[in-house]
Amino acid sequence: MAKVKGAVTIDDARCKGCELCVVACPTDVLLLQPKEVNDRGYHFAFAANPDACIGCASCAMVCPDACIEVYRVVLPNS
């Protein structure tokens, strides 16, 4: 069975740290920055566990600020 690998980019400056993407992610890739904030004072989301990403775009679906872009590759069977 082909394996799917994904990755996300998050527009730090646009993120409002609402955490909905963190909740929506089925593979626990995302977290909010515990200390660091963006220019508007939000603890923005980041890929804390990027290897687990399957590129399902669940995070992007629920993001109210459209600050997540999603990439996906289907790896051939090894």
Binding site: K5, G6, A7, T9, D11, R14, K16, G17, C18, E19, L20, V22, V23, A24, R40, Y42, A47, P50, C53, G55, C56, A57, S58, A60, M61, V62, C63, P64, D65, A66, C67, I68, E69, V70, Y71, R72, V73, L75
Partner: protein, 253 residues
């Protein structure tokens, strides 16, 4: 593969919609408005309607919707969006005309305009954000506020004997002969977002096809007004709002 190897244009499966303005929204973190705006921007692009769409913005938190989605917009007086849309569509019948309204706008001050536009079967799509509260003015009771729910004007909780009952206006619109599609959706999970997007797409297509009025209610959160975190608001909505406002199609002909 490392993320750097995956993050290449040819692998992109989701991008910020082209028709979403570059500016940041004024909405609070986690606000459902942002998700619905995003869906609408995606659909207008996907359906090839950028040059053919006129949106009608409400009074309420979404008053600035016109700043965010890159199509022509008219900002209506409080509650009057269906009347504004009626004339826009009748005078420009080949355009997609949709309204974007909150619960105070659509179900309180604009009840007459909503019901009569739907009863005439105006070929418009009505996107109705129901978060059970007045967000813009600081969290006062809406017609859709649940019994017992605390707001700035029901500080001890909404009481039926004082404030009446939470209004299910979508149920009032479904039996009207002028409506062709009346549905209630939410955007709290990825699956719900996909369904809501399909519903809005159907509403837009109905309007273009001249099939009558379509109403898509989106049961939404107002985490600032509800005084909860965005994630907690979604949970609370699923637990309490859906009981009074169950999701699904009320009419689909």
């Amino acid at each position: 593969m490392t993320p750097e190897e995956i993050i290449k244009p040819e692998n992109k499966v989701y991008a910020r919609p082209r028709l979403l303005d570059d500016r940041n929204t004024h909405y609070c973190p986690g606000c459902s408005h942002g998700v619905v705006h995003r869906i609408i921007a995606e659909l207008i692009d996907e359906m090839g309607l950028e040059d053919n769409t006129i949106g009608v913005a409400p009074v309420g938190c979404a008053v600035f919707a016109y700043n965010y989605i890159d199509v022509d917009w008219v900002e209506a007086a409080h509650g009057r969006a269906p009347a504004v849309a009626t004339a826009l569509h009748r005078l420009n019948p080949d355009r997609l005309v949709f309204t974007y309204q909150g619960d105070g706008d659509l179900a309180a001050i604009g009840t007459a305009e909503t019901i009569h536009a739907a009863n005439r079967g105006e070929n418009i799509a009505i996107i109705f954000i129901n978060n059970g509260i007045y967000g813009m003015t600081g969290g006062q009771m809406a017609p859709t506020t649940l019994l017992g729910m605390k707001t700035a004007t029901t500080p001890y909780g909404r009481r039926a004997d004082l404030n009446g009952y939470p209004l299910r206006i979508t149920e009032l619109l479904a039996p009207l002969d002028g409506t062709c599609y009346v549905t209630r959706q939410a955007v709290h999970t990825p699956a719900a977002v996909r369904k809501a997007k399909a519903a809005i797409k159907k509403a837009f297509q109905n309007a273009l096809d001249g099939r009558g009025t379509s109403v898509v209610e989106i049961v939404s959160t107002c985490n600032s007004g509800w005084k909860m975190s965005p994630a907690k608001s979604n949970e609370w909505m699923a637990e309490h709002m859906f009981e009074r406002y169950p999701l699904g199609d009320l009419k689909n002909i």
